[in-house]
C-alpha cells in the first residue's frame, strides 16, 4: 500500500518543484526547466493512473494473460509528451532571441532594459 502511494507523492513533489523554479528563479532557462518539470509530474500522474502492480502491456494478440495496464493514459501521455517537446522547442527558441536582444537571461535585467 505504501509503495503504491510513492508515485503520487513524486507527482506532487515534481509539480511543486516546478512551480518553485517558475516563481523564484530569475533565469529564463531555469523557468523553462521548471515548466518541463511540471510537465513530467503531470505525465507521471497520467501513467500512474493506468498502472497496476505486476501488470503487462495491453496487447491482446498472443497475450500470456494476467492483469493489463490501462492503455488510455499511456496514449494520453504520449500525446502530451509530443506537445511538450513542441512547446519546449518554441520556448527555448524565444529564449535565444531574448538573449540576442538583451544580452542577458536575468528577468530583472530584462525588465530594466524595457524602460
Amino acid at each position: 500500500m505504501i509503495s503504491f502511494g510513492i508515485p503520487y507523492l513524486a507527482v506532487v513533489g515534481l509539480i511543486l518543484i516546478g512551480l518553485f523554479a517558475l516563481v523564484f528563479k530569475k533565469n529564463l532557462i531555469k523557468m523553462v526547466i521548471g515548466i518541463t518539470i511540471i510537465e513530467s509530474g503531470v505525465n507521471l500522474f497520467l501513467i500512474t493512473l493506468g498502472y497496476r502492480e505486476g501488470s503487462i502491456a495491453p496487447i491482446y494478440t498472443s497475450s500470456p494473460g494476467g492483469i493489463m495496464s490501462l492503455p488510455v493514459p499511456q496514449a494520453l501521455t504520449l500525446t502530451s509528451i509530443v506537445i511538450g517537446v513542441a512547446v519546449l522547442a518554441l520556448m527555448l527558441s524565444l529564449v535565444i532571441h531574448i538573449y540576442r536582444h538583451y544580452g542577458t537571461l536575468n528577468v530583472n535585467k530584462i525588465a530594466e532594459g524595457e524602460k
Binding site: I35, I38, V42, L76, S80, I83, V87, L90, M91, Y102
Partner: protein, 546 residues
C-alpha cells in the same frame, strides 16, 4: 440541403480539417508566389466560414446538437447498460457554433487585413501557416466534446499564437511578449491536463457528456478539479489578477494577430462557461430541492466571479487611462471588456437563491429571471467585444502602417489624410464605450440592468468603467486624429484598399448589430443561452435519455 458536396454530419470535422490541411499546404502553395498564397489562405478561411455559417443556421433554427464520431458511426460502444462513450467525438451545440462564428469572423478579417498589412514582411509562408493552424486550434477547442481533445487543441492554439505574437522577431518587446504568452499558455494547459487526469482517475471517462452526467455530488476531488480548470482557463482568458501577459501579447503582436488573439482568448472564456455550466451543470444549474447544499457553493463562486469581473473592469480602464502606446491602450480596454463578459456569468451564479416557506423549510430553488438576461447580455457581449476590440486593433494597425508610430505623443492631425480610418475609429470608439446606437450599447445595457438587480454598486462600477473607456478613447481621438498636422507626418497616405475593406466589414457588422440587436438576440443569442442552460440535452445527445 443538397447543394453541399458532403453530408451535413461531416461538417463539424471539416470545419477543423480544412484549415488544418490548408496550414500544411500553405508552404507548398507559397512556392508559386506570394499573391496565390495569400488568396489561398483567405479562401480556405472563407470556405471554413461558409461551413460554420451553414451549420449555425441549421443548429440555431432547429436547436439541435450535431455530433461527429472519429472512427465509428455510433456515439457509444456497446448498447444498453454496457454502453461506453469512449470514442473521441465532436459535439456541436448552439454555444459552440456561436463562438465558432466569432472565431471565424476574426480569423477571416485578420487574414484579409494581413494581405496588405504584412506585404513587406519576409517569412510570410510561416505566418499564414500559423494563422491557419491557430484557426484550426480555435475551432477544435470550440467544437470538441472530449476533454483530452480539448487539451490538444488548447495547446495547438497556444503554440501557434505565441509564435505569431513573436512574429516581429527583430523587435525585442515582441519576442518578450511571445515568451510571456507561451509560458502562460504552457502552464495553463498543464494544469488543465492535470485536472483532466484527475477527472479520468476519478470517473474513468474523458467525454464531457459522460463526465457531466457523473459529477453530481461535488466532493473534494470535484472541487479541486473545478479550481484547477477555472484558474487555468481564467488565466488564459486574461481575467485579473492573471492578466499580466494580455496587454503585452495584444500590444506587441501585429494588428492582424491582435484581432485573432481576441478570438483565442474568447475561446478560453468559452471553456470557462463550458466547465461551469456543462461539466458542473448538475451542481450549478440544478433547481431540484435535493441540491440545496449547492446553492451556497454557487453563490460563493458567483460572488467571487463578480468580484473578479469588477476588478477586471477597473484595472483595465485605469491602466488604459495612463497608457501612451495606442495598442497597449486598446489592449487594456479589451481587458476591461472581458470583465463585462464574466459579470453576467457571476450574476447568474450569485443570484441563485432558496425559497423558504413560513416554517423555514426550503421549498424550492430559484434562478431569478434577470439571471437569464445577465447571461444573454454576457454572451451577446462576447460577440460585440470581438468586433469592437478587433476594429480598434485594426485601426491602430492602420495608423502604424501609415505612420510607423505607436506612441500617441507623436501622432496628430491624422484625420486630414486618413478619413476612412478616422470614421472606422469613431465607430469602434462609440461601440466599445457602449454608446447607442452601436452594438456595444445593446449588450451593455442588458448587463447593466441585470447587474443593478443583483447589486446597484456593481452596476454603477460597470457604467463608470464604460464612461472611463469613452474618456480614454476621446483622448486618443483628440491626440491622434485632431489637432495640427505634425511635420513628420506630412506625407501620410490612406492605407491600402484591402485593409479598408477588412475594417469596413467589421464596421458594417457593428452597425447592423447595433441597429437590429433583437434580430441577433432572437436568432443566435437566445438559442445559445438555452444551450448553455440545458446541459441535459448536451448529455443525452451522446449517451441518450440519461
Amino acid at each position: 440541403m443538397n447543394f453541399l458536396p458532403v453530408p451535413p454530419e461531416y461538417i463539424p470535422v471539416l470545419i477543423v480539417a480544412i484549415p488544418l490541411f490548408g496550414a500544411f499546404l500553405t508552404p507548398i502553395i507559397s512556392r508559386i508566389n506570394g499573391k496565390v498564397r495569400n488568396i489561398f489562405a483567405i479562401s480556405i478561411l472563407g470556405i471554413t466560414g461558409f461551413l460554420v455559417f451553414w451549420l449555425s443556421t441549421e443548429i440555431f433554427t432547429n436547436n439541435m446538437i450535431y455530433t461527429y464520431v472519429f472512427g465509428g458511426d455510433s456515439n457509444v460502444i456497446g448498447s444498453g447498460n454496457s454502453a461506453y462513450a469512449i470514442r473521441i467525438l465532436f459535439e456541436v451545440d448552439s454555444f459552440g457554433i456561436f463562438m465558432a462564428i466569432i472565431a471565424i469572423i476574426v480569423a477571416f478579417i485578420g487574414t484579409l487585413y494581413s494581405y496588405s498589412y504584412m506585404k513587406k514582411e519576409t517569412g510570410l509562408d510561416k505566418y499564414y501557416t500559423l494563422i491557419l493552424l491557430m484557426t484550426a486550434g480555435m475551432m477544435g477547442m470550440l467544437l470538441t466534446g472530449d476533454l483530452f481533445n480539448f487539451f490538444v487543441f488548447l495547446e495547438i492554439t497556444g503554440i501557434s499564437s505565441a509564435a505569431l505574437v513573436a512574429f516581429w522577431i527583430d523587435k525585442k518587446y515582441a519576442v518578450e511578449a511571445g515568451f510571456k504568452y507561451i509560458i502562460i499558455s504552457a502552464i495553463g494547459a498543464l494544469f488543465v491536463l492535470l485536472a483532466i487526469a484527475l477527472l479520468y482517475g476519478q470517473y474513468n471517462a474523458l467525454n464531457m457528456s459522460v463526465l457531466a452526467n457523473t459529477i453530481t455530488n461535488f466532493n473534494l476531488i470535484d472541487q479541486i478539479i473545478l479550481i484547477l480548470l477555472f484558474s487555468a482557463l481564467a488565466m488564459k482568458a486574461g481575467i485579473v489578477p492573471m492578466h499580466m501577459w494580455l496587454p503585452d501579447a495584444y500590444g506587441r503582436a501585429p494588428a492582424s494577430i491582435s484581432i485573432m488573439l481576441v478570438g483565442a482568448t474568447l475561446s478560453s472564456l468559452y471553456a470557462v462557461f463550458r466547465v461551469i455550466f456543462t461539466l458542473y451543470g448538475k451542481v450549478f444549474l440544478s433547481v431540484s430541492i435535493q441540491t440545496l447544499e449547492f446553492v451556497t457553493t454557487a453563490n460563493i463562486l458567483g460572488g467571487f466571479i463578480v468580484l473578479l469581473a469588477v476588478l477586471t473592469m477597473l484595472v483595465g480602464v485605469i491602466m488604459a487611462l495612463k497608457q501612451n502606446n495606442l495598442k497597449r491602450l486598446i489592449a487594456f480596454a479589451a481587458l476591461a471588456e472581458i470583465g463585462y463578459m464574466i459579470l453576467g456569468l457571476g450574476i447568474r451564479l450569485a443570484a441563485k437563491s432558496v425559497i423558504y416557506d413560513t416554517e423555514g423549510t426550503a421549498i424550492s430553488i430559484l434562478n431569478p429571471a434577470y439571471t437569464q438576461a445577465a447571461l444573454t447580455g454576457s454572451i451577446f457581449h462576447i460577440l460585440n467585444d470581438a468586433l469592437d476590440v478587433g476594429l480598434l486593433f485594426l485601426v491602430a494597425g492602420a495608423i502604424y502602417y501609415a505612420t510607423k508610430e505607436t506612441s500617441l505623443d507623436r501622432m496628430g492631425g491624422l484625420a486630414r489624410n486618413m478619413k476612412y480610418t478616422t470614421i472606422f475609429f469613431l465607430i469602434g470608439l462609440f461601440a466599445m464605450s457602449g454608446m447607442p446606437p452601436l452594438n456595444g450599447f445593446a449588450s451593455k445595457i442588458i448587463i447593466y440592468e441585470s447587474a443593478y438587480q443583483l447589486s446597484p454598486l456593481v452596476s454603477i462600477i460597470a457604467i463608470l468603467s464604460s464612461i472611463m473607456l469613452l474618456a480614454c478613447f476621446v483622448k486618443v481621438f483628440h491626440s491622434a486624429f485632431l489637432g495640427p498636422k505634425q511635420p513628420h507626418l506630412k506625407n501620410v497616405k490612406e492605407v491600402p484598399k484591402t485593409m479598408l475593406v477588412a475594417m469596413g466589414l467589421i464596421a458594417i457588422l457593428i452597425i447592423i448589430i447595433g441597429l437590429f440587436p433583437n434580430l441577433v438576440i432572437e436568432n443566435a443569442v437566445k438559442p445559445t443561452v438555452d444551450a448553455i442552460l440545458n446541459n441535459t440535452a448536451y448529455i443525452s445527445a451522446i449517451i441518450g435519455g440519461a
